[in-house]
Structure formats: C-alpha cells, structure tokens
C-alpha cells in the first residue's frame, strides 16, 4: 500500500468516525463557521467538528504546522478534500482569513506576519474582513482615495471604506490604502492589515433592500497603523489585491458548492403555481416560452463550462471563451430569479413570515439579493468591456 492510499484510508476512517451526522449536510450561509472573537457557533456539532479539525490542522490542511496547518502535500490535501466531499462533510471553518488573506500572506507576507496571523486564522481565533471598495470607487477600484500618511513608524489613515463584508463581526481588516497621490493610480496603493479595535474606526452596518445588512461602511478617522503591518511592498498593494482576486473566485465557488441544492427546479415552480390547459400546457404562454428559453440557456451555459474544461484537457481551448462566464452566468441567474418570482405571482412579492412559505420568502429574497450578482465582482458592464477588449480585440473607448 502506497503512502497515499494509506493516507486516504486513514483519513476516510477518521472522518467517518469523527464528523457528526449533522455536519454532513449542505450548509446555508448562516450555518457557516466564520470564527473570531465575537462568533457564536450555530450548533454544538459545529463547535465539536471545528475543534476536532483545528486540532488536526485540517482547517488549513496545506499550511505548515507552525502556521496552524497540517503541512499536507498537495496530493494529500486533494485526497482529504475528495474524502470530505464524498462524505458530504462541511467545511469546519470558512471566511476571508482562510481563503483570501491566508494565501496572500503565504505569498507576500514576511515571516513575522505569517507567524503572527496564520495560526490565528487557522484556529478561527481572528475573523478578517476586506477593505477595498470606497464610495467613489466601485468598478474603478484603483481610483480609491483612502489616505495613509507616512508618520515615520506608522501610517495615519483617513477615509471611508464601503461594502466591508461583515465588518461589524470581524476582528481585523485587510485594506487597500493610498500612500501616494502621484503617478499611475495603481502604483500609489498599499496593502495594510489592522485591528478593527484601533482607535478612530467606526463601523456602521448598511441595511439592504432585502432588510438584511451583511455589509458595513467603515470610517477611518486618524487611525494609526504600524508600518510593519504593510503586506508586500509599499505602493505594490494593487498586485497583492489582484492575486487575491483569484482566491476570491475560488472561495465563491466553494461556498456555492456547499450550499443546499434548491428544493425545486424552475419548471417545478411553474407546475406547482400555474395552471395547465387541457393539453397539459401552461396556460400562460409567455411564461411557457420564457421558461423553455431559460432552461435551454441555463443548460447551455453549464455545458459551456464543461466544454471549456474538456477542450482545455484536449489542448483545444480558445482562451477567449473564459471571458464570458461571469457575464452570461450572472445575467441568466438574474433572469431565473425574475422568472421564478413572476411564476409565484403575488406569492413572489411577500414580506411577512406568516402568509408566505419559507420557500416563497427565500425566492423573493433571492430575487432582490441576487441583483448584486451582475454588479459585484466586476459588473456586467465591466465584463462586456473585458470581452470586447480581450476576446474581440476591439480598441479602447
């Protein structure tokens, strides 16, 4: 038996023996374990599972043991991952620290920074948030203006960050600030880490149209940040941030994968909520057409992802195709949400919890919250710019 087969067997056995049954089901967002000082575990099982995995270093399997990981090889990590998927084990810990800052520190951080921050991330002691966007800098992130003045041993920060995801629940923040006003705007940006309890920070949750508030405005008023909390070089924060973007996408995909599968397909909704004529056709011809159209397109988009993968394996992939996924995928998702709520009719526009089923509430909520999909992470307009430049080679506007 090779070492890897042995590892596989042991891992499988350990997971079987230790992963609680309730931790083997898909998890919704509010069942996730994000860690941090202010965190309350959603269940005892979640806490148990988290503790066991932290102990083994399997919250961050590939990180070195001195950084709080298990020091697994890439092959071993793959096996662990596959075994967890096979058994349906939940991620014991999720969040910006583990998936975004961690990899960035491994690549750009100093040894001191790694030793300081990585173990606390892996053990879920510190929860991180991200300070990128500003009120004037959305799609055009590089225009950010949050100012970091050089004060010798520290920077003095003034400005505002917006869309700080769970900023009110996080302990530390990784943040892009402007350390230089001259030259190309990308080159005056620096990547900083700091404690959210540093004096001068005010965090204000921003209510959304869904009634929830996952994001905060973060106001920085003469906030002092020691210089050794710069990650990478001063003025090179844009490169660190760009590298992080890749990890953000992986994170999103991972979260997506672990979400509970929807109970009903779109055509289930149509069959459940709308009437059929004598020939078994939906009476509403417009919905019938939109539904057929959506199902065809949705499948074609999924097939395109598969095709890209297969063509990639076959060495016959047209790289330009990769530029369309964010655009066409999120537009179709938005179309789907609209279609479902249209099918639900008034039941897709309810607010209270008494008169609408949990599922109806979820669909209504998704219709609203998923409007962010075509905006965040590169709006559809930015994606179309990218396609027209990179895939079609059209000139700059």
């Amino acid at each position: 038996m090779t070492d890897l087969s042995k590892f596989k067997q042991e891992t499988s056995e350990w997971l079987e023996a230790n992963c609680p049954a309730s931790m083997r089901k898909p998890q919704s967002r509010n069942e996730g374990v994000f860690g941090g000082k202010k965190f309350t575990f959603p269940s005892d099982d979640a806490k148990l599972w988290f503790d066991l995995m932290v102990e083994k270093g399997w919250t961050a399997p590939q990180w070195a043991k001195e950084y709080g990981g298990a020091g697994l090889s890439s092959d071993e990590a793959k096996i662990l991952n596959r075994e967890m998927e096979r058994l349906g084990c939940r991620k014991p810990l999720i969040g910006h620290g583990l998936w975004m800052l961690g990899p960035a520190l491994l690549e750009y951080g100093t040894e001191e920074q790694k030793r300081e921050h990585l173990p606390k991330i892996a053990r879920g002691e510190i929860r991180w948030c991200q300070g990128y966007s500003e009120p004037g800098s959305g799609s055009d992130l590089a225009s950010l203006r949050c100012k970091a003045e050089d004060q010798g041993d520290h920077y003095l920060l003034n400005g505002q960050k917006s869309w700080t995801s769970d900023g009110d629940k996080a302990d530390w923040i990784f943040c892009l600030v402007r350390t230089n006003d001259e030259g190309p705007k990308q080159e005056g940006i620096t990547f900083l880490l700091f404690d959210m309890e540093t004096p001068g920070i005010t965090v204000r949750p921003v209510p959304l149209i869904t009634g929830e508030s996952h994001f905060c405005d973060t106001f920085l008023d003469n906030v002092k940040v020691p210089k050794d909390q710069v990650v990478g070089e001063v003025g090179k924060g844009w490169s660190v941030a760009k590298a992080l973007l890749v990890h953000e996408r992986t994170m999103m995909a991972d979260i997506e994968k672990n979400m509970p599968k929807p109970k009903y397909s779109v055509d289930d909704y149509a069959k459940n909520y709308l009437s059929m004529d004598k020939n078994g056709r939906l009476q509403d011809g417009l919905i019938r057409d939109r539904l057929a159209q959506h199902m065809m397109r949705d499948e074609a988009i999924k097939l395109t992802q598969k095709r890209a993968f297969e063509e990639g394996m076959a060495g016959d992939f047209d790289m330009r195709v990769a530029t369309i996924f964010k655009y066409i995928g999120t537009e179709e998702k938005t179309n789907k949400d609209t279609l479902i709520t249209d099918i639900l009719g008034m039941a897709g526009a309810g607010w209270d919890k008494e008169n609408f089923s949990a599922d109806e509430q979820t669909k209504t909520h998704e219709w609203m919250s998923n409007k962010a999909l075509t905006i965040a992470g590169g709006s559809s307009e930015v994606q179309l710019n990218v396609i027209s430049k990179r895939a079609l080679g059209l000139p700059e506007v």
């Binding site: 966007s133 959305g138 225009s143 959304l208 509403d284 417009l286 008034m346 008169n355 905006i375 307009e381």
Partner: protein, 378 residues
C-alpha cells in the same frame, strides 16, 4: 379622444406635483414602513388630499364630483407614483367609485358617490383568490335566499383590504348559463359578522389583506349591478383599475429614470462621468423612448374611460406597456447605480418593490397580452 391634458387638468397635475413632492416624498413612505404603520399611509396626507378635493376629481358633477374625469385622476396618480405616495385614493376612486358609477343603482349612487367625493368613504375591491390575477374564475360563493345573501369563501391580496370602510366583493352566485354569467358584485361592511381579515405584508409596504367569509349574511340591497350577470361590470371596473394603476406606475418609472439620469451625470468612474459611457447612454435613451410610448398608451386609455369607449383593448395595452417599462427602468436603475442601488438608504429599492407588486396587481404582461390576443381573435 384627447391625448393632451386640457388647461384645468394641467393645473390639477401641476398642483398635485408640487404638493406631493413637498408633502409626500419617498421618505414619508420610508417612515411609514419603519414605524410599521398599520394603514400604510399617512392619515394627515389623506386629509390634505381630501381638502384639495382629490377624491372628487373623477366623480361626475351631479354626485358632488369635480368632473375632471379619469384623465384628472390619472394625472394625480402619475404624480403620486413619482414619490410612491400611498393613500386610499387609488382603490376608492379607480376601483370602488368606478364600480358604483357604472353598476350602482340610483340610490347607491346618490348615497355613496357624494361620500366618496367628500372623502368620507373609502373602498376596496375584494376580488382575487389566488397568487395570480384573474378576471372571472371566481370561487367565493354566495347564495341568494329572498332578501339575503350568504357568503362563503376566501379573497386574497386585497389592496387596502384591512383599511377600507367598505368592500366590493366579487361573488359567484350562479353557474354560468346562456342568460347569466353567474357573477354578482356586492358592497360589504368589513365589520359584518363572519368576516376575518388577515393582514398581509407585501414588499411594497402598503396595506393588503386576505379576507375569509364564513356564512356572512348581508341584504340583497347591497348588490351592485345586475344580479348573476355582472361580469361586464366587473371587467369594466377592473379595466378602470388597470388603467389607473398603469398611470401610477409610469410616475414611478419617470422618477426612476430621472434619478438614474441624474446619477449618470454625477457619478464618476475611470476618470469620467459614467453618463459619458455610450453603452449606458444608449440604454438610458431607450428607456426614455419606452417610457414616452407607454405614456401615450396610458393617456389614451384614460381618455377612453372619459369618453365612455370600450376599455378592454386599451386597458390591456396600457397595463402591458406600463408593466414592461416600469420593470425595465427599475432594473436598469439598480444596475446603473451599482451596489449602492441595493442599499435601503437609496430610494431605488422602494420603487423596485412597488414595481413588482404593481406588475402582479390587476394582471401581468402575460395575462394582458393573452387577453389582447383573445380580444383581437388570434
């Protein structure tokens, strides 16, 4: 049929615009929501509207009305739609008064219309029974026994259903036959025994209710229109509502377009106003064009009411174009504002939600295009 407002109607519109912009901005709506206001509208605002004579605009002069016609009512609703100003106006006038004007006997007209005109009576139409608008598929039953009507059944998503002084209820009183369509409308006091009103909160924060009728008995004197044969009256009433709602919707669409264009002129990204990006310009220009043609369909339909023309085709056109253009414009407003459009601080979400409920109310575009096609025999 006129497509332009006459001078009096223009004055009414301009006054309504000034008043609503000042006294009923979107923040009033936000406040009502945050206070979980029971009625979903401001009593104070409604009283000011009454003082201004609005409930009387579309009531014929012989019943104490001002005789501005539904073009007048539509002008007010369009302005109200711009600030999302809510009041009993729409349901009382566009649905309630319409049913009484067209179906009420002389006694009913003499007793009710002046009260409506004076702002002393509010009405709601209890008609829907499912998640989707329908015209005639009524299950809510009433038996007529001598001088008494006994009602059993459930009505759903009744706008102003938990507020109105009186309900107009659509009932199945007989099976459809060659002589009768089997539908009867009746005026019912919501405090009658056997009525259970269940408030429903929709995303637009207005007042809706499900109402259950359990052996509710009222006098046959409460019947409006022809007994067992009021489908035509019901259709006409619904068409009044569809047309007037379309007018309100266009106001909302106009406000959203204006706000979005303002934002395009103000917001900078990549070193320029985002309104200088041609892709956004073309989409905004298209929104403008769509809104203008929808306005014509709506004023044409309002005019058809005042000229006592057949309403079916024009109502379905007006509601379809209003649905489609309000949806287009609110969706684009969100997209063009970006993330900030999804925060509750901005007004956009209020319009987005009101738009969605308005689309579902009194028929979505699939419903109306189907109806239009049927009316045109294809």
């Amino acid at each position: 049929m006129p497509l332009a407002l006459n001078e009096e109607q223009r004055m009414l519109r301009d006054t309504a615009r000034d008043f609503l912009q000042n006294d009923a901005p979107v923040n009033l709506m936000r406040q009502l929501r945050d206070d979980a206001n029971e009625k979903g509208y401001s009593e104070e605002l409604w009283h000011k509207m009454i003082e201004m004579g609005w409930p009387a605009v579309a009531i014929p002069e012989q019943f104490g009305g001002l005789g501005f016609g539904f073009i007048g009512a539509g002008a007010i609703l369009q302005e109200a739609g711009k600030t999302l100003a809510n009041s009993p106006f729409f349901n009382t006038v566009a649905l309630g008064a319409a049913a009484i004007i067209h179906g009420g006997n002389e006694d009913q007209q003499q007793s009710l219309l002046p009260k409506i005109a004076a702002g002393e009576l509010t009405l709601a139409l209890a008609h829907e029974e499912s998640n989707h608008h329908q015209s005639h598929g009524i299950q809510c039953q009433a038996f007529i026994d001598g001088k008494q009507l006994t009602i059993n059944g459930n009505k759903k998503f009744i706008a102003e259903g938990a507020n109105a002084d009186l309900l107009i209820v659509s009932l199945r009183t007989a099976p459809p036959s060659s002589n009768n369509d089997g539908i009867t409308l009746a005026l019912i006091d919501p405090s009658t025994e056997g009525i259970k009103i269940n408030k429903v909160n929709m995303i637009d924060s207005r007042n809706y209710a499900h109402i259950d009728f359990s052996n509710v008995t009222v006098s046959t004197e409460n019947i409006i229109g022809e007994r067992h044969n009021s489908q035509t009256l019901l259709d006409k009433t619904l068409d009044h509502g569809r047309i007037c709602l379309a007018a309100e919707m266009l106001g909302g669409a106009q406000a959203m377009l204006d706000k979005t264009v303002e934002y395009l002129k103000d917001r900078e990204q990549f070193g320029r106003k985002i309104g200088a990006f041609q892709a956004l310009q073309h989409r905004a220009a298209n929104m403008f064009a769509e809104l203008e043609i929808a306005k014509s369909a709506v004023i044409h339909a309002l005019s058809a009411i005042d000229d006592n023309q057949d309403l079916a085709v024009v109502a379905s056109s007006a509601k379809t174009l209003a649905n489609d253009c309000y949806r287009l414009i609110t969706d684009e407003a969100v997209q063009m504002h970006g993330g900030i459009g999804l925060t509750d601080e901005m007004d956009i979400g209020f319009y987005l939600k009101r738009c969605r409920v308005s689309i579902q109310s009194l028929g979505d575009s699939g419903f109306h295009k189907n109806r239009f096609a049927t009316l045109n025999e294809f």
